[in-house]
């Protein structure tokens, strides 16, 4: 005997099974972003441990200590969130969580195939860039609102670093838009069907990738949070849920920047066909494989590089990456429009 469900329940099931809900809440939406954050932290710990000839997380969780990350999250949630006397309370509490929200929002416009994208926009690449430019602002305010000298110095370094690397990021991005003749990320990926832009714009790729690593404040560009001298810099006063929010925001932003690099320079979902695997699975698979390669490179930087001084960070941004970005753009304009001009 089949029991008919009440109509509101049927509506709810229909909504939960709808394409819109699956994309927003499961893949490539919230659940995927959350799992990706956990996976990234676990992968970084295991990879660094291998580089340092130690096992890394082992005991919590049967397979490679994977539950350690969850245990850490619970630990942060169960710690008291202390707000220092000198801190600006409202800003101190809200800014890390705002940063987390903005970082997560980046994934709304990042495609994993022509089908797997939460919101495909004709100006997708611009929206992503606006969000990339916005995410450091709550973190800078968080450092300022902490009311500590250490946070203040870290925040100043962070602001200088972000200013230095946003311009080259933007210039490199202009090269990709010029070559693809579109602002739609899906069309930019499709323009790389025959040849990914990493081949035709290798200088642009280097500029973008280095700027992206700096934007994510990863070693060797982690001077604003320098553990050994500024004891976490602009986030020194944060503990408990505030620190958890900042860490989640930073890892989510790093993941989003690397997925963006895959789409802009590594040909996105274009890759060899695997017999029997449908495109709806194969396309996200190739995006993920390319992302993992970039993630491994970024995490290996932490294992093999030392921190560089603020002077060198600024020098690299202003004196090398910006001219290289312009040269890349000039070469792109020449290669694309020279045949037209000659004709």
């Amino acid at each position: 005997m089949v029991v008919a469900l009440p109509p509101p329940l049927q509506e709810l099931i229909r909504f939960l099974a709808s394409e819109s809900f699956v994309k927003a809440a499961v893949f490539p939406g919230a659940a995927f972003v959350a799992v990706l954050g956990i996976l990234s932290v676990w992968y970084e710990r295991k990879l660094l441990a291998r580089i340092m000839l130690r096992p890394g997380p082992l005991h919590v969780g049967k397979y490679g200590g994977w539950l350690q990350v969850i245990a850490d999250a619970v630990k942060f949630l169960s710690k008291e969130f202390i707000i220092p006397t000198r801190a600006k309370k409202k800003l101190f509490v809200t800014m890390p969580l705002t940063a987390l929200f903005l970082s997560a929002l980046l994934f709304a416009f990042l495609p994993f195939s022509e089908y797997w994208v939460i919101y495909r926009s004709e100006i997708g690449v611009l929206l992503v860039f606006v969000l990339i430019a916005l995410t450091p602002i709550p973190l800078i305010i968080a450092g300022w609102a902490s009311g500590s000298k250490y946070s203040f110095v870290g925040m100043l370094r962070f602001a200088f670093q972000i200013f230095a690397y946003e311009v080259p990021l933007f210039i490199a991005l202009a090269g990709v838009i010029l070559a693809a003749k579109s602002f739609d990320i899906v069309e930019i990926v499709n323009a790389q069907y025959a040849l990914p832009f990493i081949v035709t714009q290798f200088i642009g790729f280097l500029v973008f990738f280095i700027a992206a690593v700096s934007e994510a404040e990863r070693i060797p560009f982690d001077l604003p949070t320098a553990e050994q001298e500024l004891v976490e810099g602009w986030m020194v006063e944060y503990g408990g849920v505030g620190f958890l929010g900042i860490q989640l925001a930073m890892y989510t932003k790093l993941d989003a920047l690397l997925f963006l690099t895959v789409n802009l320079y590594l040909g996105g979902w274009h890759g060899p066909a695997i017999p029997g695997v449908p495109e709806t699975i194969l396309h996200p698979f190739w995006v993920f494989v390319k992302f993992l390669i970039l993630l491994t490179i970024v995490f290996m930087f932490r294992g093999v590089y030392t921190r560089i001084t603020i002077r060198k960070i600024l020098d690299l941004g202003w004196r090398y990456l910006i001219p290289l970005g312009f040269i890349n753009l000039f070469l792109v304009s020449l290669t694309i429009y020279l045949p037209t001009l000659l004709a």
Binding site: A25, L100, V117, S148, S182
Partner: protein
């Protein structure tokens, strides 16, 4: 993109924004439920490497890397101009020559600026 796909995309975006906004709220609720609340004066002191914090002073803060801060203003405007040129050339390929010349001048001038920046005093 047809109207149905566009509508589905917009619904996905709205759901995603709501879920993303809920995540920080859930973290705060989780923290409220799990964390202890035992306020103490010492806990609320700022971190100063184990020393008793001595508070803020009204001394001037030295501004370092000043030329870099100044050049940001110039480059931010230039980046915008370059970006608009790129947009213009997508719509009007006939303007390609102008853009190529602009980018050549910008490349040369940025190399000159890079060489000059190093010799400028970095502290005021």
């Amino acid at each position: 993109m047809d109207a149905d796909t566009s509508m589905a995309d917009t619904t996905s975006l709205i759901i995603y924004i709501v879920v993303s906004a809920l995540l920080p709220v859930l973290l705060i609720i989780g923290s409220k439920l799990l964390s202890p609340k035992k306020p103490a004066r010492r806990k609320k002191l700022s971190f100063e490497s184990g020393q008793v914090p001595f508070g803020w002073t009204e001394s001037s803060f030295p501004v370092e890397y000043f030329p870099y801060a100044i050049i940001y203003i110039a480059y931010a405007v230039i980046a915008l101009a370059v970006f608009l040129s790129v947009v213009a050339v997508i719509d009007n390929p006939g303007a390609a020559l102008n853009v190529v010349v602009l980018l050549a001048v910008l490349s040369a001038s940025s190399i000159y600026a890079a060489a000059t920046l190093k010799n400028l005093p970095q502290r005021l």
